[in-house]
């Protein structure tokens, strides 16, 4: 169990749902209705997974909030809109290509990978550069375990991840808006092999919703949200650092490392505090922690580095 925040900060899931239910009842009685943008799917595949001891022991954010608040710029800049549009992404079957500095490169069907890996539930903090945060129970497996299966060569120093490219479906890819598509991200090999680094296929015991990165996404809990690339189709092991989307777009604003760090502000806004979603009006922001609270596990990776320079 890692550091805690007082539970009172988040409206607990049940109270949240109760409140919604009361409101819905009132609305139903008056003949109106609010339809949640996306109701949770019934696909409760992974309700009884082993709980990882790498989990952060704090209360999770209500799943409705997580499902309706996610950036997916391929579809739209508007989070709600993106959630709606993401539903059109075909994800079955899904294959993952692994190439580069490895002994056994190949293209693998996701279902086959899942059969080989032990899935776990891991509750992690999630901190976006937009200064909001959540606590999410992911379902997934260690990236390191997958990489070991393809035998990385000693020349592999970096990893590049590439998202799906489907301009017919993803409007902003079609119009080449803002970022260079497809979305790419990268890690140093030691970051990739770190036990906290996760490839997620689900959350809240269910299949990952499309807007949250289905069917396969990266979760590196001590880094800002944009590192956690969605809908991964390709993993390359490289000798040199890869180019990554946001870093290419604005080098001075989004670093390659993008470690959560309250002392390194974004050029245009503070990263010193964050709004924990699920907290009510009149709840103060939460102080952002160095490495998002995972310093004990990951600080050693950066021990001789100037974090202000390598932000």
């Amino acid at each position: 169990m890692i550091n805690k925040i007082p539970n009172s900060e988040i409206t607990d899931s049940k109270a949240f749902k109760d409140r919604r239910r009361i409101i819905k009842a009132i609305l139903a009685a008056t003949g109106s209705s609010i339809v949640p943008a996306f109701a949770a799917s019934d696909n409760a595949r992974w309700q009884n997974l082993p709980k990882s001891n790498l989990s952060t022991g704090i209360m999770t954010t209500p799943s409705e909030i997580v499902e309706n608040y996610t950036n997916y710029y391929e579809f739209s800049f508007n989070k709600k809109e993106a959630t709606k549009l993401a539903q059109s992404l075909p994800i079955d079957p899904w294959s993952l290509q692994i190439s580069g500095e490895v002994e056994k490169p190949g293209t693998f069907i996701l279902e086959d990978i899942l059969r080989q890996q032990t899935l776990e539930e891991r509750i992690y903090r999630f901190r976006c550069v937009e200064a909001w945060s959540m606590v999410i129970p992911w379902v997934g497996f260690s990236l390191g375990d997958l990489l070991k299966k393809v035998n990385p060569l000693s020349t592999a120093k970096f990893i590049k991840f590439t998202s799906i490219y489907q301009p017919e479906i993803m409007a902003n890819q079609n119009t080449n808006t803002v970022l260079e598509w497809p979305y790419t991200e990268g890690l140093r090999i030691d970051e990739a092999m770190h036990p906290l680094t996760l490839l997620a296929v689900g959350m809240y015991g269910e299949t990952l919703p499309k807007q949250n990165g289905a069917p396969l996404r990266l979760i590196v809990p001590w880094k800002y949200g944009f590192k956690n690339i969605k809908a991964i189709v390709k993993i390359e092991l490289l000798k040199k650092p890869p180019t990554t989307s946001w870093n290419t777009f604005a080098r001075n604003e989004y670093g390659f490392y993008a470690n959560v760090n309250p002392l390194v502000k974004h050029p245009r806004w503070s990263q010193n505090s964050e709004r924990l979603l699920g907290s009510e009006f009149f709840t103060p922001r939460r102080k952002t922690e160095l490495f998002n609270g995972y310093g004990e596990q990951v600080a050693a990776l950066y021990k001789d580095m100037d974090l202000r320079h390598f932000f």
């Binding site: 609010i34 608040y69 800049f77 550069v129 937009e130 502000k265 503070s270 505090s273 009006f281 103060p284």
Partner: protein, 211 residues
Amino acid sequence: MIQKSNLRLKILIVCWLPLLFLLVDAVFDNLGSNPIRALHIRLGDWALRFLCITLAITPIQAVTNWRGMSEYRRMFGLFTFVYASLHMLGYLIVDQVLHWKIIGVDILESSYIWFGIISYFIIFVLAITTPNWSKKVMGKNWKKLHRFIYLAAIAAVTHYFWQLKGNLAEPFLYSIIVFILLGFRVLISFKTRHMSKLMIPKGRKTSKLSD
């Protein structure tokens, strides 16, 4: 006369509606996953919209020759002040709960907020110098002071631009609006300064000699 005060009342009610809808959405938990940010966005957007409406009155008047609108300009200006104040108070109280240390760091490190503060400062000064007596006391300076409203608009649009990551369409729209309104104003002042001798005033000016 009756018709006019009726219109005034209608506009007054309409101007409060965005706040009413916001309160309804807050009570019914209809502000989405990040209600506090939604609050900032709603109030900030309406402050900027009222600011644009206020700025639009003079050009509309010039184009339509309808002189009756200038009294509404003051009203829209005051609603700009109302929504901007709520926006600022929402930040301080609803979001930061008056935790001054965190607020201090947040403001120092967030340059987009500086532009908001500049804009709010101007709106505040213009609002407290709104009453007629203040207009009388200040004489010619009043007009000069109230031209700062354009600076408030530019600062507000910059405040908007400066907080985004790459999706600049909406603030771009507002900056075009402000640019057109400002351009119009410059054109008019140019026209009145240099061509007033050539222009023969016409239009329905008769209805309001007190202007």
